[in-house]
Symmetry: C2
Subunit: 233 residues, 2 copies
Amino acid sequence: MYLFYAPDLNPADCFLNEEESRHCAKVLRLQKDDLIEIVDGKGFFYRAKISVPDPKKTCFEILDSESGFGKRNHYLHIAIAPTKNIERLEWFIEKATEIGIDEITPILCQHSERKIINHERLNKVVTSAMKQSLKAYHPKLNQLTAFSSLVRDNNNSQKWIAYCGDTKKTSIKEALLLQQNYLVLIGPEGDFSPQEIKLGLENGFKAITLGQSRLRTETAALEACFEVNFLNR
Amino acid sequence: MYLFYAPDLNPADCFLNEEESRHCAKVLRLQKDDLIEIVDGKGFFYRAKISVPDPKKTCFEILDSESGFGKRNHYLHIAIAPTKNIERLEWFIEKATEIGIDEITPILCQHSERKIINHERLNKVVTSAMKQSLKAYHPKLNQLTAFSSLVRDNNNSQKWIAYCGDTKKTSIKEALLLQQNYLVLIGPEGDFSPQEIKLGLENGFKAITLGQSRLRTETAALEACFEVNFLNR
């Protein structure tokens, strides 16, 4: 069954946007009365029937719907410094979306080598992974944000910063309270600067370790994503 | 500090192979008396001093050594059907090496779209990830193996097969006994065939689930790798 994404779906007037319409009617050549599935990125999952297969504006009729489809029992926000090789960040975004994440913020740090991102392109990675892994919630991908702004301006209940220094750290396993709203900070290839770590700790972030292995930026972020989801199962 | 890999290191006659010598003396331009670190892939970690910086055969003197460096408390073997897009398998190999794995077998299944692999190239991914993540054990990468041979011929103590069907399954968390010798089978994009699943179950493999999400082949394999490592911490 083919799955489409209709972020602004209005059940009273159901159609796919131009990109999805083209995919549906032109690439897949679906016909009138073919069955499709649709998610709106906000938790709604629809089964539907194509009424007008048009590559500009494909219309459909909803057969049944489900809200809160695959809703998770916690909220996970990971802030990660974009990797020098952007494919590594894209890979993280894809995998985190598959495994389970709610919000991703690319952060600009003192040691960041990459200072710009293509938000639209990265958001397409999110959308594609969401569809591929059959999820009805579209993780929120924020614009590139300064580390200091994010650290000061957030309202998560459990906040962690992962870095390499020798400070005493706790593991997520020890620190995690179930079903919370988590924020994890993952630094760039050159790690967070001492000033950034200080600012994080002053703003209520706890230092965490992600195990004994020396992990790349994107692997560390994925490890955090795995751990939070796994512990909340 | 630069880390080199010397798989056949003989402490009585210490030198780097041609590839590593070139990297050391030509690319990095290291000099006589520069300090380096070396792993042999079998658990030995050495600190050493360059005695002859030669791009064909760089020689060094060992200053101190450690055996069983970063030795893990369990043995994890993952058998995975190579993905159609080989980059996805390469990603898995890199990430699994970073997180912790002992043996990887690419398996040929009935639904495999990819029937050949470049073993040498994939093994370079292992080596590179091992060095990058500062590990002294080189995971063993086997040649492409028929599913049926692997399923019949192995001596692991806990054996699991992950597939999508609706059978009753257990989670790794429920099934795992600590510090064992695990083997996990991960199927191709089109999943294992019913005959393969039957053969697996007949040969003592237990059906496992890797959570609620629909995961790609390489993500499923990494999820299994993560779970086994995490539970054994």
